[in-house]
Symmetry: D2
Subunit: 223 residues, 4 copies
Amino acid sequence: MTDVLDHGSVTLVDFMGGDSRVDQAAGVSLGRFDRQREEDKQRKIIKYMMKHRHGTPFEHSVFTFHVKTPIYVAREWMRHRIGSYNEISARYTEIESQHYNPKPLRGQSGENRQGSVELESSDEHDAIRAAIRRNQDGAFALYHQLLDSGIAREIARGVLPQSTYTEFVWTVNARSLMNFISLRMTLDAQYEIRVYAEALYDIFMETMPLTAEAFTMEGYKAP
Amino acid sequence: MTDVLDHGSVTLVDFMGGDSRVDQAAGVSLGRFDRQREEDKQRKIIKYMMKHRHGTPFEHSVFTFHVKTPIYVAREWMRHRIGSYNEISARYTEIESQHYNPKPLRGQSGENRQGSVELESSDEHDAIRAAIRRNQDGAFALYHQLLDSGIAREIARGVLPQSTYTEFVWTVNARSLMNFISLRMTLDAQYEIRVYAEALYDIFMETMPLTAEAFTMEGYKAP
Amino acid sequence: MTDVLDHGSVTLVDFMGGDSRVDQAAGVSLGRFDRQREEDKQRKIIKYMMKHRHGTPFEHSVFTFHVKTPIYVAREWMRHRIGSYNEISARYTEIESQHYNPKPLRGQSGENRQGSVELESSDEHDAIRAAIRRNQDGAFALYHQLLDSGIAREIARGVLPQSTYTEFVWTVNARSLMNFISLRMTLDAQYEIRVYAEALYDIFMETMPLTAEAFTMEGYKAP
Amino acid sequence: MTDVLDHGSVTLVDFMGGDSRVDQAAGVSLGRFDRQREEDKQRKIIKYMMKHRHGTPFEHSVFTFHVKTPIYVAREWMRHRIGSYNEISARYTEIESQHYNPKPLRGQSGENRQGSVELESSDEHDAIRAAIRRNQDGAFALYHQLLDSGIAREIARGVLPQSTYTEFVWTVNARSLMNFISLRMTLDAQYEIRVYAEALYDIFMETMPLTAEAFTMEGYKAP
């Protein structure tokens, strides 16, 4: 399990395939799916596939992750459609009071409409973070008050802020994972999802070192 | 534009295809894609396709909708992966203060873990709805305070409740739309998404009457 | 490896997930992804998911198969879009002379435009099967003649009949696999793909017995 | 209708969206889906989206094509999974005797395993093309003989060569179409599919000129 943000995490639950599977899948072009080759040859073909955008051989390697992340990060995440999701349901179950409080705070970028910039730490920031905490505590207090009054969970959740943590299981193949990392590990991406992309990238490098190496050398462009 | 909930809506922006296209697409099996047949024959083949789960002929009819809905409804919506989405970005732009306040309130179902039941209206409910409104007003006040302090929009949004309205454009083919309606127009679905599914179903019936008729006769099961 | 038709086969190459993963993925709705439960409880939740068309928990179980099948069967197969394919390439490599010769021959159904019926064996059939073999042998002879004349493989393949065997690797999740079986194991499906669906179903039953049981009880309808 | 190869074609059947829809879909990020802007501003945002790989705004423009092409080209085509297909069925209907006979013939590339090179025309080539024609004529003669003997169409088709023409209807959004063109209009692609990609590109340029311009300037890389 990799800890991410103040209460989040990424855990690799299961994995299938790997660098040698990429080599095999590429080999099926030649009718040699059962080939088992040494690392040097695997590295060479993987680099070739990556460079020439032959993406399908990477689809036979599949990861299952368990993810805990704030709702607004999950919202960006689930826009990635090539993959499978099951998420905790605020209709079925009561949501725990865990929320994200950014530290340090970041300022609105003047140059980039969607960007943010680092701010000097200041007393004002402590006050702002305290206000955010009160927002979250107040929302959860109201949430519990609604549940206690017999209001349905599926409605009561409406008062919870988007900084509330959610969790889900995500199954994704290596090609789609590279696409995710490619789009979410750049400086354009919001910091809060970038740190997840980095955690995924680390796991990816450990699990499929030759593929991750080729991906990195191609400038993190997904095939 | 169909109004849904207190501030939401569904608007059909564009449409391509239609019942006769389903007939044509089915006809291509026989090498007769260019056939133009009368309504009776179209109805018959459409019913046959629906009944026998030949889903692909319905994929050549495509809808583009503009949708305004609370975030937690959008979250359920975007789990439907066969379709295209573009949504307002709280990183790019400041979110308007519009939120959903359920009326009447619904209680937690005792029988169905994920369900809700209607409640008698009571004075307590007015108090609860006022508390929900204060939650929303307080969150937006804090949101603006954060923006005024120079905090980045992408962080500030974290304090906004999930009842906040969002908007998006959705392009979806008739088959995937039927799947959506099939899963979201049942009594199992949360009321707040069911009313959107009903609005979509009305538009679907007007736009593809023969297909909608066959879909209805098959018990709203998507092919 | 399961032998199918005269020279075809299906081999399970790799597998990830399983019945307990379905239970876990369903459990994440309640925030209990890490639960490990006994078979009885797994069976119960799996039946519930199947019956109520909650398909996503089945997507975290993933199979990789190696398949050898005639081209016209592969053509039907690859219309299934939720899955990953890598196939032998007739541009890269020379195709082996292996082709499918149906035995017994089947007649055109009078009732069902797309169906076939069994025929009594007869001397005529031996003659027909010999003619089919000559068609294949002649095509391969020409294929080699073209290659010997220096004609590009990518063009030369045009002369090979659709009964020629091809091979591919296929990665598919349990939900999409059930959809495949559901559509291809019925009597409506062509015999030549049905026998592959049956082979897949056998492997599916061995690998995910509780899921296969629930699928069977629901009349082979994919969730 | 654009003629392609000796008996093939591509026809634009229907279209929805366009450059202004891309602009609108991008505008929804700012809550301005209903904006209607002049061409200069559309061009600018479209170039920006293309350059920065924001692909979703292009998905709301959708094309339906009717295509007639040799089976082995259709086989490459249908590996593109983001799109909808209905094809003539050799189970339902008798296939017409139309097949592709390459002219001029191309030789096997010595440098590129999957490539071909132009050959000088020669008398031998006329003989080769005549042999290919005999292969096709012989196969169709046998096909009809099988049908006349009462053999099921679904089996009889096995004798037809892969150079036989098939036809299908294809619905695809602009993003996926660009992906197709990007992969199939390069010199790496087989000539027989490249000419279809070129025909599609011409239609694309007429239908979405600003998008096609931006796509071209980005080196035909799909966003």
